[in-house]
Protein backbone atom coordinates (compact mmCIF):
# COMPACT_ATOMS: atom_id res chain seq x y z
CA UNK A 1 0.00 0.00 0.00
CA UNK A 2 1.28 3.44 -0.90
CA UNK A 3 2.26 5.48 2.10
CA UNK A 4 1.04 9.01 2.65
CA UNK A 5 4.02 11.38 2.48
CA UNK A 6 4.59 13.10 5.80
CA UNK A 7 6.08 16.54 5.23
CA UNK A 8 7.45 18.74 7.96
CA UNK A 9 5.85 22.10 8.82
CA UNK A 10 8.76 24.51 9.28
CA UNK A 11 8.41 26.31 12.63
CA UNK A 12 10.64 28.82 14.34
CA UNK A 13 12.31 28.23 17.72
CA UNK A 14 11.31 30.93 20.21
CA UNK A 15 11.33 30.72 23.99
CA UNK A 16 12.16 27.01 23.90
CA UNK A 17 9.07 26.19 21.82
CA UNK A 18 8.42 25.68 18.14
CA UNK A 19 5.91 28.25 17.00
CA UNK A 20 4.29 29.70 13.91
CA UNK A 21 4.05 33.44 13.44
CA UNK A 22 1.35 35.07 15.61
CA UNK A 23 0.03 36.54 12.34
CA UNK A 24 -0.43 33.08 10.82
CA UNK A 25 1.47 34.30 7.76
CA UNK A 26 4.01 32.20 5.88
CA UNK A 27 6.09 32.56 2.78
CA UNK A 28 6.81 29.74 0.35
CA UNK A 29 10.31 28.28 0.42
CA UNK A 30 11.56 26.99 -2.92
CA UNK A 31 14.75 25.14 -3.77
CA UNK A 32 17.23 26.38 -6.41
CA UNK A 33 15.23 24.54 -9.10
CA UNK A 34 12.08 26.39 -8.12
CA UNK A 35 10.39 23.35 -6.55
CA UNK A 36 8.23 23.99 -3.49
CA UNK A 37 9.76 22.93 -0.16
CA UNK A 38 7.51 24.31 2.57
CA UNK A 39 5.74 27.28 4.10
CA UNK A 40 8.14 29.19 6.36
CA UNK A 41 6.75 31.49 9.11
CA UNK A 42 6.74 35.13 8.05
CA UNK A 43 7.37 36.57 11.50
CA UNK A 44 6.12 40.02 12.44
CA UNK A 45 7.34 42.75 14.76
CA UNK A 46 5.09 41.19 17.42
CA UNK A 47 6.89 37.87 17.01
CA UNK A 48 10.16 39.76 17.42
CA UNK A 49 8.78 41.41 20.55
CA UNK A 50 7.77 38.00 21.93
CA UNK A 51 11.23 36.66 21.13
CA UNK A 52 12.93 39.55 22.95
CA UNK A 53 10.70 38.91 25.97
CA UNK A 54 11.63 35.21 25.93
CA UNK A 55 15.32 36.14 25.66
CA UNK A 56 15.05 38.60 28.56
CA UNK A 57 13.36 35.99 30.76
CA UNK A 58 15.98 33.35 30.01
CA UNK A 59 19.01 35.64 29.93
CA UNK A 60 19.47 36.29 33.64
CA UNK A 61 19.55 32.58 34.51
CA UNK A 62 21.87 31.81 31.61
CA UNK A 63 24.31 34.51 32.68
CA UNK A 64 24.35 33.04 36.22
CA UNK A 65 25.46 29.64 34.94
CA UNK A 66 29.13 28.92 35.44
CA UNK A 67 31.38 29.58 32.47
CA UNK A 68 32.30 25.90 32.47
CA UNK A 69 28.63 24.90 32.22
CA UNK A 70 27.99 27.29 29.33
CA UNK A 71 30.97 25.81 27.51
CA UNK A 72 29.69 22.28 28.08
CA UNK A 73 26.31 23.21 26.66
CA UNK A 74 27.85 24.74 23.51
CA UNK A 75 29.85 21.56 23.16
CA UNK A 76 26.65 19.56 23.50
CA UNK A 77 25.09 21.63 20.71
CA UNK A 78 28.05 20.72 18.51
CA UNK A 79 27.42 17.04 19.31
CA UNK A 80 23.77 17.39 18.30
CA UNK A 81 24.75 18.99 14.99
CA UNK A 82 27.49 16.48 14.27
CA UNK A 83 24.96 13.65 14.48
CA UNK A 84 22.67 15.34 11.95
CA UNK A 85 25.34 16.54 9.52
CA UNK A 86 23.63 14.98 6.50
CA UNK A 87 20.31 16.63 7.20
CA UNK A 88 21.94 20.04 7.68
CA UNK A 89 23.94 19.66 4.47
CA UNK A 90 20.74 18.80 2.57
CA UNK A 91 19.13 21.95 3.97
CA UNK A 92 22.03 24.06 2.75
CA UNK A 93 21.92 22.38 -0.68
CA UNK A 94 18.32 23.57 -1.15
CA UNK A 95 19.84 26.94 -1.99
CA UNK A 96 21.91 25.44 -4.80
CA UNK A 97 25.15 24.90 -2.89
CA UNK A 98 27.19 21.92 -4.12
CA UNK A 99 27.19 18.84 -1.88
CA UNK A 100 30.88 19.03 -0.98
CA UNK A 101 30.65 22.73 -0.10
CA UNK A 102 27.52 22.15 1.99
CA UNK A 103 29.19 19.32 3.93
CA UNK A 104 32.22 21.50 4.51
CA UNK A 105 29.99 24.31 5.77
CA UNK A 106 28.38 22.01 8.35
CA UNK A 107 31.71 20.71 9.65
CA UNK A 108 33.09 24.23 9.88
CA UNK A 109 29.96 25.30 11.80
CA UNK A 110 30.45 22.42 14.25
CA UNK A 111 34.14 23.27 14.63
CA UNK A 112 33.23 26.90 15.24
CA UNK A 113 31.00 25.90 18.14
CA UNK A 114 33.80 23.85 19.62
CA UNK A 115 36.13 26.84 19.25
CA UNK A 116 33.82 29.12 21.22
CA UNK A 117 32.92 26.37 23.71
CA UNK A 118 36.63 26.25 24.52
CA UNK A 119 36.74 29.99 25.12
CA UNK A 120 33.82 29.87 27.59
CA UNK A 121 35.96 29.64 30.74
CA UNK A 122 39.04 31.35 29.29
CA UNK A 123 38.04 34.67 27.74
CA UNK A 124 37.70 36.27 31.18
CA UNK A 125 41.39 35.58 31.92
CA UNK A 126 42.38 37.31 28.70
CA UNK A 127 39.92 40.22 28.63
CA UNK A 128 39.66 40.89 32.37
CA UNK A 129 42.57 42.32 34.30
CA UNK A 130 44.08 43.29 37.63
CA UNK A 131 45.06 46.91 37.03
CA UNK A 132 48.10 48.56 38.64
CA UNK A 133 47.04 51.54 40.75
CA UNK A 134 49.10 53.80 43.01
CA UNK A 135 47.27 53.22 46.26
CA UNK A 136 46.46 50.46 48.74
CA UNK A 137 43.73 49.00 46.53
CA UNK A 138 43.10 46.10 44.28
CA UNK A 139 41.65 47.29 41.00
CA UNK A 140 39.92 44.67 38.88
CA UNK A 141 38.37 44.87 35.45
CA UNK A 142 35.83 42.12 34.89
CA UNK A 143 33.49 41.40 31.99
CA UNK A 144 29.73 41.15 32.07
CA UNK A 145 27.31 40.07 29.34
CA UNK A 146 25.25 42.91 27.88
CA UNK A 147 21.82 41.27 27.85
CA UNK A 148 19.66 40.64 24.82
CA UNK A 149 21.43 40.91 21.46
CA UNK A 150 19.77 41.05 18.04
CA UNK A 151 21.57 39.27 15.19
CA UNK A 152 20.91 39.58 11.47
CA UNK A 153 22.21 36.57 9.55
CA UNK A 154 23.43 37.02 5.96
CA UNK A 155 22.23 34.98 2.99
CA UNK A 156 25.73 33.64 2.31
CA UNK A 157 26.54 30.50 4.29
CA UNK A 158 23.10 30.40 5.97
CA UNK A 159 24.13 27.90 8.67
CA UNK A 160 27.77 28.77 9.24
CA UNK A 161 27.23 32.52 9.41
CA UNK A 162 24.32 32.11 11.82
CA UNK A 163 26.34 29.83 14.10
CA UNK A 164 29.34 32.18 13.86
CA UNK A 165 27.15 35.04 15.05
CA UNK A 166 25.32 33.09 17.77
CA UNK A 167 28.17 31.24 19.48
CA UNK A 168 30.33 34.23 20.54
CA UNK A 169 27.17 36.08 21.63
CA UNK A 170 25.76 33.46 23.98
CA UNK A 171 29.01 31.97 25.28
CA UNK A 172 29.46 34.87 27.70
CA UNK A 173 25.88 34.75 29.02
CA UNK A 174 24.03 36.98 26.56
CA UNK A 175 20.71 35.88 25.10
CA UNK A 176 20.09 36.26 21.38
CA UNK A 177 17.28 36.92 18.96
CA UNK A 178 18.48 36.04 15.47
CA UNK A 179 16.82 36.69 12.14
CA UNK A 180 17.66 33.86 9.76
CA UNK A 181 18.64 34.33 6.13
CA UNK A 182 15.62 35.50 4.13
CA UNK A 183 16.45 33.46 1.04
CA UNK A 184 17.71 30.32 2.82
CA UNK A 185 15.89 30.01 6.16
CA UNK A 186 15.70 26.22 6.29
CA UNK A 187 19.08 25.54 7.96
CA UNK A 188 18.01 27.89 10.78
CA UNK A 189 14.77 25.93 11.23
CA UNK A 190 16.83 22.76 11.63
CA UNK A 191 19.32 24.47 13.93
CA UNK A 192 16.35 25.31 16.21
CA UNK A 193 15.60 21.61 16.54
CA UNK A 194 19.19 20.97 17.59
CA UNK A 195 19.19 23.86 20.05
CA UNK A 196 16.11 22.32 21.65
CA UNK A 197 17.98 19.07 22.38
CA UNK A 198 21.26 20.65 23.45
CA UNK A 199 20.56 21.44 27.16
CA UNK A 200 20.54 25.14 26.25
CA UNK A 201 17.78 26.73 28.37
CA UNK A 202 14.77 27.72 26.24
CA UNK A 203 14.83 31.39 25.29
CA UNK A 204 18.62 31.86 25.29
CA UNK A 205 18.60 31.53 21.50
CA UNK A 206 15.49 32.56 19.59
CA UNK A 207 15.45 32.12 15.83
CA UNK A 208 12.92 33.90 13.69
CA UNK A 209 12.34 33.85 9.94
CA UNK A 210 10.74 36.47 7.74
CA UNK A 211 11.37 39.58 5.70
CA UNK A 212 14.20 41.89 6.67
CA UNK A 213 12.30 44.90 5.41
CA UNK A 214 9.48 44.20 7.89
CA UNK A 215 11.61 43.29 10.87
CA UNK A 216 14.69 45.50 10.77
CA UNK A 217 12.89 48.69 11.89
CA UNK A 218 11.83 46.89 15.08
CA UNK A 219 15.31 45.43 15.56
CA UNK A 220 16.57 49.01 15.32
CA UNK A 221 14.18 50.65 17.80
CA UNK A 222 13.41 47.94 20.39
CA UNK A 223 14.72 49.40 23.63
CA UNK A 224 15.45 46.05 25.23
CA UNK A 225 17.89 44.89 22.53
CA UNK A 226 21.25 46.03 23.89
CA UNK A 227 23.23 45.31 20.77
CA UNK A 228 22.75 44.54 17.14
CA UNK A 229 25.13 42.49 15.01
CA UNK A 230 25.30 40.65 11.73
CA UNK A 231 25.51 41.45 8.05
CA UNK A 232 23.50 44.10 6.23
CA UNK A 233 23.61 46.29 3.14
CA UNK A 234 24.31 50.03 3.36
CA UNK A 235 20.66 51.09 3.50
CA UNK A 236 19.79 48.62 6.26
CA UNK A 237 22.89 49.65 8.17
CA UNK A 238 21.78 53.27 8.16
CA UNK A 239 18.34 52.29 9.44
CA UNK A 240 19.81 50.14 12.22
CA UNK A 241 22.37 52.75 13.23
CA UNK A 242 19.86 55.57 13.58
CA UNK A 243 17.45 53.36 15.55
CA UNK A 244 20.35 52.19 17.71
CA UNK A 245 21.37 55.78 18.43
CA UNK A 246 17.86 56.49 19.72
CA UNK A 247 17.75 53.37 21.91
CA UNK A 248 21.49 53.51 22.79
CA UNK A 249 22.52 50.07 21.63
CA UNK A 250 25.87 48.79 20.43
CA UNK A 251 26.15 48.14 16.69
CA UNK A 252 28.62 45.64 15.18
CA UNK A 253 27.74 45.07 11.55
CA UNK A 254 29.64 43.75 8.57
CA UNK A 255 28.78 44.80 5.02
CA UNK A 256 26.89 42.43 2.79
CA UNK A 257 28.74 44.04 -0.11
CA UNK A 258 32.08 42.76 1.24
CA UNK A 259 30.94 39.11 0.88
CA UNK A 260 32.69 38.22 4.14
CA UNK A 261 34.24 34.76 4.03
CA UNK A 262 32.79 32.83 6.99
CA UNK A 263 34.73 29.64 6.28
CA UNK A 264 38.23 30.71 7.25
CA UNK A 265 39.75 30.89 10.71
CA UNK A 266 39.68 34.70 10.53
CA UNK A 267 35.90 34.46 10.99
CA UNK A 268 36.37 33.24 14.57
CA UNK A 269 37.95 35.36 17.22
CA UNK A 270 38.10 36.21 20.89
CA UNK A 271 37.14 39.72 19.83
CA UNK A 272 33.80 38.47 18.57
CA UNK A 273 33.09 37.52 22.21
CA UNK A 274 34.31 40.93 23.35
CA UNK A 275 31.84 42.62 20.99
CA UNK A 276 28.97 41.78 23.37
CA UNK A 277 30.61 42.36 26.73
CA UNK A 278 30.55 45.29 29.12
CA UNK A 279 33.59 45.95 31.27
CA UNK A 280 33.22 46.73 34.94
CA UNK A 281 36.09 48.09 37.00
CA UNK A 282 35.95 47.71 40.77
CA UNK A 283 38.17 49.01 43.56
CA UNK A 284 38.76 46.95 46.66
CA UNK A 285 40.88 47.90 49.68
CA UNK A 286 43.86 45.67 50.36
CA UNK A 287 43.50 44.07 53.79
CA UNK A 288 46.03 44.78 56.58
Amino acid sequence: MARLIITKTPKVYVGGAFIRSESGRTFPLKDSQGAFVGHVPQCTRKDLRTAVEAAARAGAGWARRTAFNRGQILYRLAEMMEARTGELADAIMLGGTAAATAKAEVSTAVDRLIYYAGWADKYEQVLGNVNPVSGPYFNFTVTEPMGVIGLIAPDDAPLLALVSLLAPTIVSGNAAVALASETQPYPAILLGEMLATSDLPGGVVNLITGYRKELLPTFATHQHLRGIGGTTNAEERKLLQSGAAESIKRVKLTSAEDRFDWTTDTAQSLYAIRDWLEFKTTWHPIGS
Partner: protein
Protein backbone atom coordinates in the same frame (compact mmCIF):
# COMPACT_ATOMS: atom_id res chain seq x y z
CA UNK B 1 -19.15 22.19 51.96
CA UNK B 2 -21.02 20.53 54.86
CA UNK B 3 -24.57 19.28 54.37
CA UNK B 4 -26.07 22.18 56.32
CA UNK B 5 -23.86 24.44 54.24
CA UNK B 6 -25.08 23.02 50.99
CA UNK B 7 -28.72 23.26 52.11
CA UNK B 8 -28.29 26.93 52.99
CA UNK B 9 -26.48 27.51 49.74
CA UNK B 10 -29.24 25.79 47.75
CA UNK B 11 -31.88 27.99 49.35
CA UNK B 12 -29.90 31.12 48.50
CA UNK B 13 -29.19 30.01 44.93
CA UNK B 14 -32.88 29.23 44.37
CA UNK B 15 -33.47 32.87 45.16
CA UNK B 16 -30.66 34.53 43.20
CA UNK B 17 -30.18 31.99 40.42
CA UNK B 18 -27.14 29.80 39.82
CA UNK B 19 -24.24 30.29 37.43
CA UNK B 20 -23.85 28.62 34.04
CA UNK B 21 -20.15 27.85 34.38
CA UNK B 22 -19.62 26.77 30.76
CA UNK B 23 -21.44 29.85 29.54
CA UNK B 24 -19.25 32.09 31.68
CA UNK B 25 -16.04 30.48 30.39
CA UNK B 26 -17.20 30.84 26.81
CA UNK B 27 -18.25 34.45 27.32
CA UNK B 28 -14.97 35.56 28.89
CA UNK B 29 -12.88 33.74 26.27
CA UNK B 30 -14.28 36.23 23.74
CA UNK B 31 -13.22 39.32 25.71
CA UNK B 32 -9.55 38.87 24.85
CA UNK B 33 -10.30 38.76 21.13
CA UNK B 34 -11.50 42.37 20.82
CA UNK B 35 -9.21 44.44 18.64
CA UNK B 36 -8.36 47.57 20.62
CA UNK B 37 -5.79 49.71 18.85
CA UNK B 38 -4.31 53.20 18.84
CA UNK B 39 -6.64 55.90 20.23
CA UNK B 40 -9.01 53.44 21.90
CA UNK B 41 -6.05 51.54 23.34
CA UNK B 42 -4.52 54.71 24.76
CA UNK B 43 -7.93 55.64 26.21
CA UNK B 44 -8.26 52.20 27.80
CA UNK B 45 -4.72 52.25 29.20
CA UNK B 46 -5.17 55.70 30.75
CA UNK B 47 -8.53 54.67 32.20
CA UNK B 48 -6.86 51.60 33.69
CA UNK B 49 -4.14 53.80 35.23
CA UNK B 50 -6.84 55.90 36.93
CA UNK B 51 -8.40 52.71 38.35
CA UNK B 52 -5.28 51.19 39.87
CA UNK B 53 -5.14 50.63 43.62
CA UNK B 54 -1.34 50.70 43.76
CA UNK B 55 -0.60 48.01 46.27
CA UNK B 56 2.19 46.95 48.55
CA UNK B 57 1.27 44.22 51.02
CA UNK B 58 4.45 42.59 52.17
CA UNK B 59 5.97 41.79 55.50
CA UNK B 60 9.03 43.79 54.43
CA UNK B 61 7.13 47.04 53.74
CA UNK B 62 8.84 50.06 55.27
CA UNK B 63 7.76 53.71 55.66
CA UNK B 64 10.32 54.50 52.95
CA UNK B 65 8.76 52.07 50.50
CA UNK B 66 5.32 53.50 51.23
CA UNK B 67 6.74 56.98 50.58
CA UNK B 68 7.98 55.95 47.11
CA UNK B 69 4.66 54.25 46.46
CA UNK B 70 2.84 57.51 47.24
CA UNK B 71 5.06 59.53 44.90
CA UNK B 72 4.49 57.00 42.16
CA UNK B 73 0.73 57.07 42.79
CA UNK B 74 0.62 60.85 42.42
CA UNK B 75 2.99 61.04 39.45
CA UNK B 76 2.94 57.65 37.73
CA UNK B 77 5.37 58.62 35.00
CA UNK B 78 8.30 60.98 35.25
CA UNK B 79 10.79 60.39 32.44
CA UNK B 80 14.48 61.15 33.07
CA UNK B 81 14.51 63.43 29.99
CA UNK B 82 12.49 66.59 30.29
CA UNK B 83 9.49 66.67 28.00
CA UNK B 84 9.47 62.90 27.54
CA UNK B 85 6.97 62.13 30.32
CA UNK B 86 3.47 61.09 29.34
CA UNK B 87 1.00 63.96 29.05
CA UNK B 88 -2.45 64.06 30.66
CA UNK B 89 -1.77 61.00 32.75
CA UNK B 90 -4.15 60.78 35.70
CA UNK B 91 -2.92 59.79 39.16
CA UNK B 92 -3.92 56.31 40.27
CA UNK B 93 -7.11 55.82 42.31
CA UNK B 94 -5.53 54.80 45.59
CA UNK B 95 -2.59 53.30 47.36
CA UNK B 96 -3.34 50.08 49.21
CA UNK B 97 -1.28 49.28 52.32
CA UNK B 98 -1.35 47.42 55.62
CA UNK B 99 -2.96 49.30 58.58
CA UNK B 100 0.43 49.98 60.20
CA UNK B 101 1.49 51.89 57.07
CA UNK B 102 -1.64 54.07 56.77
CA UNK B 103 -0.26 56.93 58.84
CA UNK B 104 2.93 57.00 56.77
CA UNK B 105 0.90 57.12 53.56
CA UNK B 106 -1.24 59.92 54.99
CA UNK B 107 1.84 61.90 55.93
CA UNK B 108 3.19 61.69 52.37
CA UNK B 109 -0.07 62.30 50.54
CA UNK B 110 -1.39 65.08 52.76
CA UNK B 111 -5.04 65.67 53.55
CA UNK B 112 -6.31 66.87 50.18
CA UNK B 113 -4.71 64.29 47.93
CA UNK B 114 -6.42 63.06 44.73
CA UNK B 115 -5.03 59.64 45.62
CA UNK B 116 -7.05 57.82 48.25
CA UNK B 117 -5.62 55.55 50.93
CA UNK B 118 -6.99 52.04 51.09
CA UNK B 119 -6.04 49.75 53.93
CA UNK B 120 -6.55 46.03 54.18
CA UNK B 121 -7.88 45.19 57.61
CA UNK B 122 -9.74 42.42 59.51
CA UNK B 123 -6.71 40.15 59.92
CA UNK B 124 -5.89 40.19 56.22
CA UNK B 125 -5.41 37.83 54.41
CA UNK B 126 -6.86 34.92 56.40
CA UNK B 127 -9.39 36.79 58.53
CA UNK B 128 -8.80 34.18 61.24
CA UNK B 129 -8.86 36.44 64.29
CA UNK B 130 -11.59 37.14 66.82
CA UNK B 131 -14.17 39.62 65.50
CA UNK B 132 -13.27 42.07 68.26
CA UNK B 133 -9.66 42.20 67.04
CA UNK B 134 -10.72 42.57 63.42
CA UNK B 135 -13.02 45.49 64.20
CA UNK B 136 -10.34 47.17 66.33
CA UNK B 137 -8.00 46.94 63.33
CA UNK B 138 -10.58 48.62 61.10
CA UNK B 139 -11.09 51.45 63.60
CA UNK B 140 -7.34 51.94 63.93
CA UNK B 141 -6.88 52.18 60.15
CA UNK B 142 -9.75 54.67 59.90
CA UNK B 143 -8.42 56.86 62.70
CA UNK B 144 -4.95 56.83 61.11
CA UNK B 145 -6.47 58.32 57.96
CA UNK B 146 -7.61 55.49 55.66
CA UNK B 147 -10.25 56.49 53.08
CA UNK B 148 -11.17 52.94 52.19
CA UNK B 149 -11.10 49.63 54.04
CA UNK B 150 -10.53 46.30 52.30
CA UNK B 151 -11.96 43.53 54.52
CA UNK B 152 -11.94 39.76 54.07
CA UNK B 153 -15.07 37.70 54.62
CA UNK B 154 -15.11 34.77 56.97
CA UNK B 155 -14.65 31.96 54.43
CA UNK B 156 -14.79 29.31 57.12
CA UNK B 157 -18.23 30.48 58.18
CA UNK B 158 -19.37 30.84 54.57
CA UNK B 159 -18.33 27.30 53.62
CA UNK B 160 -20.01 25.96 56.79
CA UNK B 161 -23.23 27.58 55.60
CA UNK B 162 -23.38 30.16 58.40
CA UNK B 163 -24.48 32.89 56.03
CA UNK B 164 -26.09 34.96 58.80
CA UNK B 165 -22.79 35.11 60.63
CA UNK B 166 -20.92 36.16 57.47
CA UNK B 167 -23.38 39.00 56.91
CA UNK B 168 -23.39 40.07 60.58
CA UNK B 169 -19.62 40.38 60.52
CA UNK B 170 -19.70 42.44 57.33
CA UNK B 171 -22.36 44.68 58.91
CA UNK B 172 -20.18 45.16 61.96
CA UNK B 173 -17.28 46.23 59.73
CA UNK B 174 -19.57 48.60 57.81
CA UNK B 175 -20.40 50.22 61.11
CA UNK B 176 -16.76 50.41 62.17
CA UNK B 177 -15.88 52.06 58.82
CA UNK B 178 -18.14 55.01 59.44
CA UNK B 179 -18.20 57.14 56.31
CA UNK B 180 -15.26 55.34 54.70
CA UNK B 181 -15.78 53.16 51.64
CA UNK B 182 -15.65 49.42 52.18
CA UNK B 183 -14.38 46.70 49.86
CA UNK B 184 -15.42 43.17 50.71
CA UNK B 185 -12.90 40.54 49.65
CA UNK B 186 -14.61 37.23 48.86
CA UNK B 187 -11.31 35.37 48.27
CA UNK B 188 -12.74 33.58 45.25
CA UNK B 189 -9.89 31.07 45.16
CA UNK B 190 -11.16 29.57 48.42
CA UNK B 191 -14.85 29.52 47.49
CA UNK B 192 -14.37 26.59 45.08
CA UNK B 193 -17.27 27.18 42.66
CA UNK B 194 -18.83 29.98 40.59
CA UNK B 195 -22.14 29.36 42.40
CA UNK B 196 -20.43 30.07 45.73
CA UNK B 197 -18.88 33.24 44.32
CA UNK B 198 -22.29 34.47 43.20
CA UNK B 199 -23.83 33.54 46.57
CA UNK B 200 -21.06 35.34 48.50
CA UNK B 201 -21.39 38.39 46.23
CA UNK B 202 -25.10 38.67 47.05
CA UNK B 203 -24.55 38.11 50.79
CA UNK B 204 -22.07 40.97 50.80
CA UNK B 205 -24.02 43.33 48.52
CA UNK B 206 -27.12 43.03 50.68
CA UNK B 207 -25.38 44.52 53.73
CA UNK B 208 -22.99 47.07 52.22
CA UNK B 209 -23.84 50.57 51.02
CA UNK B 210 -24.02 52.13 47.55
CA UNK B 211 -20.49 53.05 46.51
CA UNK B 212 -18.92 50.16 48.43
CA UNK B 213 -17.12 47.43 46.51
CA UNK B 214 -16.88 43.68 46.29
CA UNK B 215 -13.40 42.39 45.55
CA UNK B 216 -12.17 39.06 44.18
CA UNK B 217 -9.17 38.12 46.21
CA UNK B 218 -6.37 39.01 48.57
CA UNK B 219 -3.61 38.22 46.11
CA UNK B 220 -2.10 36.00 48.80
CA UNK B 221 -3.38 32.64 47.52
CA UNK B 222 -2.36 30.75 44.40
CA UNK B 223 -5.65 31.43 42.64
CA UNK B 224 -6.33 35.08 41.93
CA UNK B 225 -8.59 37.33 39.90
CA UNK B 226 -9.57 35.74 36.61
CA UNK B 227 -11.89 36.96 33.89
CA UNK B 228 -14.27 34.17 34.92
CA UNK B 229 -14.48 35.21 38.59
CA UNK B 230 -14.76 38.82 37.53
CA UNK B 231 -17.62 37.98 35.18
CA UNK B 232 -19.58 36.09 37.85
CA UNK B 233 -19.20 39.02 40.23
CA UNK B 234 -20.06 41.80 37.77
CA UNK B 235 -23.12 39.85 36.62
CA UNK B 236 -24.14 39.62 40.29
CA UNK B 237 -23.63 43.39 40.57
CA UNK B 238 -25.74 43.91 37.44
CA UNK B 239 -28.56 41.66 38.69
CA UNK B 240 -28.53 43.32 42.11
CA UNK B 241 -28.59 46.76 40.51
CA UNK B 242 -31.54 45.84 38.26
CA UNK B 243 -33.39 44.48 41.33
CA UNK B 244 -32.71 47.24 43.83
CA UNK B 245 -31.21 50.22 41.98
CA UNK B 246 -28.19 50.05 44.29
CA UNK B 247 -24.85 50.38 42.43
CA UNK B 248 -22.01 48.36 43.94
CA UNK B 249 -18.39 48.71 42.75
CA UNK B 250 -16.03 45.94 41.75
CA UNK B 251 -12.34 45.35 42.35
CA UNK B 252 -10.47 42.42 40.83
CA UNK B 253 -7.14 41.94 42.59
CA UNK B 254 -4.12 39.69 42.33
CA UNK B 255 -2.60 38.27 39.17
CA UNK B 256 -3.45 41.19 36.86
CA UNK B 257 0.03 42.12 35.70
CA UNK B 258 -0.22 43.13 32.07
CA UNK B 259 -1.89 46.01 30.26
CA UNK B 260 -3.46 43.52 27.90
CA UNK B 261 -5.15 41.68 30.78
CA UNK B 262 -6.49 44.92 32.20
CA UNK B 263 -8.01 45.88 28.83
CA UNK B 264 -9.82 42.53 28.71
CA UNK B 265 -11.27 43.23 32.18
CA UNK B 266 -12.43 46.67 31.03
CA UNK B 267 -14.09 45.11 27.99
CA UNK B 268 -15.93 42.76 30.38
CA UNK B 269 -17.12 45.71 32.46
CA UNK B 270 -18.25 47.73 29.44
CA UNK B 271 -20.13 44.84 27.91
CA UNK B 272 -21.73 43.66 31.16
CA UNK B 273 -22.31 46.76 33.29
CA UNK B 274 -21.97 49.56 30.73
CA UNK B 275 -20.16 52.88 30.73
CA UNK B 276 -21.50 53.88 34.17
CA UNK B 277 -19.05 51.45 35.74
CA UNK B 278 -16.02 52.61 33.70
CA UNK B 279 -14.92 54.96 36.45
CA UNK B 280 -12.56 54.60 39.41
CA UNK B 281 -15.56 55.27 41.65
CA UNK B 282 -17.01 51.89 40.61
CA UNK B 283 -14.16 49.80 39.24
CA UNK B 284 -10.62 49.29 40.52
CA UNK B 285 -7.64 47.09 39.85
CA UNK B 286 -5.76 45.84 42.89
CA UNK B 287 -2.23 45.44 41.57
CA UNK B 288 1.41 46.14 42.29
CA UNK B 289 3.12 45.69 38.91
CA UNK B 290 0.22 46.43 36.53
CA UNK B 291 0.89 50.17 36.62
CA UNK B 292 4.43 49.68 35.30
CA UNK B 293 3.20 47.66 32.35
CA UNK B 294 0.46 50.22 31.60
CA UNK B 295 3.12 52.94 31.52
CA UNK B 296 5.37 50.81 29.35
CA UNK B 297 2.60 50.31 26.80
CA UNK B 298 1.62 53.99 26.89
CA UNK B 299 5.21 55.03 26.16
CA UNK B 300 5.30 52.44 23.37
CA UNK B 301 2.15 53.97 21.88
CA UNK B 302 3.68 57.43 22.15
CA UNK B 303 7.14 56.66 20.74
CA UNK B 304 6.45 53.65 18.53
CA UNK B 305 9.36 51.75 20.07
CA UNK B 306 8.98 48.69 22.28
CA UNK B 307 10.16 49.53 25.79
CA UNK B 308 12.19 47.54 28.29
CA UNK B 309 10.77 46.79 31.76
CA UNK B 310 13.90 48.11 33.50
CA UNK B 311 12.93 51.63 32.39
CA UNK B 312 9.75 51.28 34.49
CA UNK B 313 11.16 50.06 37.82
CA UNK B 314 10.77 46.39 36.93
CA UNK B 315 13.50 43.73 36.75
CA UNK B 316 14.88 43.12 33.27
CA UNK B 317 13.40 39.62 33.05
CA UNK B 318 9.96 40.56 34.38
CA UNK B 319 7.82 40.21 31.29
Amino acid sequence: MSSTGSAASRRLLDEIGSVDAVGIEERVAKYSTRSIKRASKVFGLKLAVSMVDLTTLEGKDTPGKVASLCVKALHPHVAPDEGKSLDDLPPVAAVCVYPAMVRHARRHLGNSSPVRIASVATAFPSGQSPLKTRLAEVRAAVSDGADEIDMVINRGAFLAGEFGRVQDEISAVVEACGSRALKVILETGELETYDNIRAASFLAMRVIRPGDFIKTSTGKTSSNATLGNNQVMIEAIRDYFLDTGIAIGMKPAGGIRTAKQSLAFLVAVKETLGDDWLTPARYRFGASSLLNDLLRQLVKEKTGAYQAPYAFSEATESY
